[in-house]
Amino acid sequence: MSEPILFNVDEVALSADRCIKCNVCNTVCPVLPVTDLFPGPKYCGPQAQRFRSGHPVETWVDYCSGCGACSRACPSGVRVAELNARARARMFEQRGIPLKNRLLSRSETLGRMGSKAAPLANFGLNFGPGRVVVERILGVPREAPLPSFSQGSFRRRFRRIPQPERPSLRVGYFCGCTTNYYEPRVGEAAVRVLTRAGIGVELPEQHCCGLPFISNGDFKGARKLAEANLKALLPVIRSGKRVVATSTSCSLTLKHEYREVLGLYGPEWEELAAGVYDAFELLRELAWQGELELDATLTQRVLYHGPCQLRSHGFGFPAADLLGTLGGIELAESGVECCGSAGTYGFKGDKREIAFRVGQPLAARAKEHRAEVVACDSETCRWHIQQLTGLPARHPIELLDDAWSQAERTGD
């Protein structure tokens, strides 16, 4: 197992040097305006970093939601969010990771167990007393939105989707835990879209990307998953296929958090990062090269929300770019940094209120646009947004799939 470079000495930690105390990070943090419990990314990151020597770290670092807005806004290149994530892990290391964090991390295990017993599990999740139990053990408040478990694994459904005979290129689809156990329809839509675009899709061996472990401070658990994914996905990349994901949280974890948060560096990790693509990133690339025509219609009022993790990818909003070309669509963008859920952050008892407040501007925007649906590339965001706005929230690839399916049916 690769030994991570010690936290206080790698490029990320030493990036704290570049802080000129301009305060721009504090102007974009979505948590700061809604709670007085968090002193802000500047303090949490580069400021406290100079004083951290392995001793117990401050408990308030847990209020950082991990949305990454600070790192993006920093004009100097300080990895503020990554410093905060590490501080949180260090804090849990010192104080022990709460049981509820451990359980929430294990989304893959939870998913697998729940999926096998889906109807029963769903009953439990929808039934009052069941939610009280979940609240007690997982710390997930009874009114927080939880996805239903889905029956049967995604792999079985994947095999039923026809592949192009002569694909222009091939990719390995990283479906993620959510697609696998909760929302296989997203995966199905993705595979349909990719194959229609002439891309051959495989479903390689893969594991939970580990993001829930990272957000809950369990770096050890996260590194085990990282190693497993490296082993499973490198061969795919080396065979000339890109690894394509629809969850922007998963893809960011694979190509960024493994290195800058977990401290896993080296040529193989670089290779993995270079080979991971977001589905819309790939589709847009093809469109820009003239190899993809989106000749379809979607008559809907859509509010697109680019999740915080998508923003950290740094390639803009390819989903919005492509959806915007559909005929009949009334597309607006949320214009906010974060919906409030930030992965599993918004689902934990004491953070639920914060998540709700952070999400208010988005809810207002949806109302202003008279949106019928909110499109968002990240799953936990969708669940949170549904509760926030009362509107259906779908992955943009589902909307594209809808538009194309419609076009096929009507023979457009």
Partner: protein, 505 residues
């Protein structure tokens, strides 16, 4: 004369022996060499090969200072790093010398050295652990001064000695000038002890005594973050640029040696690059990381037959000079030495003074702890201020005046109350205000505001900021590159573009 470590330590020692003392300091306490050194509380290993006496003195005093000034000492430990290409007979000599002087030295594996210090160079061949520590000088001096006052001494800061009256081989009076008001006062002198560091020559000349000092200027580079958690030394004969010292949140790289009798030593960018390059030989990150500021301190060396050149090979032990030999009976100067042995220097000087005055009292400064050390033996630890914020303030930062160094409003107010109308630079020394990466960008305005509220000065209320800005320039000019250049421009935007201090009344 002289409010550095030696002067404050001497005043304490004499006061504890029952003498009534007045300590006169021309600027702020610890403003001279004491406030411009690298912070190393030597184990003595550095001198073990060439200067056994100095090595022995160091280890004994190291242990004493750790005890009596515990809160100002960080138990960092030290490493001597032998790199491929360094003289291979030195490690053996080092070990032998240390053992002879009673300095604990242990060779550790390269793997273990790297575990402790991940940023060490790949060229590390051998490593030796020694009991180096680091000491924060202002707290040390302030505690000595406080102890002196507790035992009846008086202290005058920002007071210059402008004249000495000598008659029939004795100093009879001293003319003192208050720098702020310009007022002069003549004070009767029974005995004059000079611990004026490299200014000792000037004090002596006022008494008609010729005392040739050879100030050995050494430049140090402060890095924004710690590059090591222990003191990193080069395992070869002592030379320039061969130490990296973790002091508070920073690392100090040092040092050089240029003998020059001046008050304004000009640090050049070339000198800085040299120090950084030498430091990078041991810790490569030193050449890539942010240098925060530079400063220079003058070793107070005495060499009666001095030729200009390298002063390092002169004995660094101190000398107590009885000026009866120069025709003035009640005048003694203490010259040379290093901060690590300040207490011993003070003891020797106090012994000499007491002998001349016929006072029979022994030195107890090694036995009695200073300040907070009376309550707790706990050493300073890097995370202390952060932990204090967590425990006392739950992560609040509204009351932080200096955010970089976690200095609170209460700390600033208390300091102003104790010290009258301090310069912001005094707050910097005592509280670390303005020592962080932004070099005062935010805390300057806040501190000036608190000062104006507590000690109004009217239209001149911005003067403290102007002075502080120019002080910072001294340390920034020679390193005007990279992140520090960016910081400079941001600070210019704040203080010129936005606050227009360049057109202040």
């Amino acid at each position: 004369m002289g409010g550095g470590a030696t002067g404050a330590g001497l005043t304490r020692d004499l006061a504890m022996r029952g003498l009534r003392c007045l300590l006169v300091e021309q600027s702020d306490l610890a403003h001279g060499t004491t406030g411009h050194f690298h912070g190393l509380l030597h184990s003595g290993a550095r001198y073990a090969v060439r200067d056994a006496e100095a090595a022995d003195e160091c280890i004994v005093e190291n242990r004493i200072v750790r005890r009596i000034a515990a809160p100002h000492v960080e138990d960092t430990g030290g490493l001597f790093c032998w790199l491929e290409g360094d003289p291979d007979d030195y490690p053996g000599q080092l070990v032998a010398g240390c053992q002879k002087a009673g300095i604990e030295i242990e060779e550790i594996s390269v793997a273990e050295a790297r575990r402790r210090e991940p940023l060490l160079t790949p060229r590390l061949g051998r490593a030796f652990a020694v009991p180096d520590a680091t000491v924060e000088p202002w707290g040390l001096v302030a505690d000595n001064a406080e102890s002196a006052v507790d035992h009846g001494a008086s202290i005058r800061r920002y007071t210059r000695l402008v004249g000495l009256g000598v008659e029939a081989g004795r100093v009879l009076w001293a003319d003192l000038e208050d720098i702020g008001s310009g007022e002069r006062e003549r004070v009767e002198v029974n005995f004059l002890a000079s611990a004026a560091g490299y200014w000792a020559g000037r004090v002596a000349s006022l008494a008609g005594v010729k005392l040739q000092m050879a100030p050995g200027w050494g430049t140090m580079v402060v890095m924004n973050q710690r590059l090591s958690s222990s003191v990193v030394n080069r395992c070869r004969p002592p030379g320039d640029g061969d130490i990296l010292v973790p002091v508070g949140p920073v690392s100090i790289l040092g040092t050089t040696d240029t003998t020059l009798d001046t008050d304004n030593y000009e640090i050049t960018p070339e000198e800085v690059r040299f120090i950084v390059t030498e430091g990078a030989a041991m810790v490569p990150a030193a050449a890539e990381r942010r240098a925060l500021r530079v400063f220079a301190g003058a070793r107070p060396l005495y060499d009666p037959g001095h030729q200009h050149g390298e002063s390092r090979t002169l004995s660094r032990s101190h000398m107590v000079l009885d000026h009866a030999n120069d025709g003035v009976d009640n005048f003694i100067s203490i010259v040379g030495g290093k901060l690590t042995t300040y207490r011993l220097m003070a003891e020797h000087t106090a012994d000499a003074v007491c002998a001349k005055l016929g006072v029979d009292a022994r030195c107890r400064t090694a036995e009695e702890p200073l300040g907070e050390a009376r309550k707790t033996p706990r050493h300073y630890s890097l995370g202390d201020r952060l932990t204090a914020r967590e425990q006392e303030a739950g992560g609040a930062d509204a009351d932080l005046v200096c955010e970089c160094e976690l200095v609170t409003r209460d700390m600033v107010r208390e300091f102003i109350e104790s010290f009258g109308t301090p310069h912001i630079d005094d707050m910097l020394r005592a509280l670390r205000l303005g020592m962080g990466p932004c070099q005062g960008a935010f805390c300057m305005l806040r501190a000036a505001g608190i000062l104006e509220r507590m000690r109004p000065s009217g239209a001149a209320a911005l003067e403290p900021i102007r002075l502080f800005l120019d002080e910072r320039m001294k340390g920034d000019r020679p390193i005007m590159w990279g992140d520090q250049a960016r910081q400079f421009r941001l600070n210019e935007i704040i203080y010129r573009d936005v606050l227009a201090l360049d057109h202040a009344p």
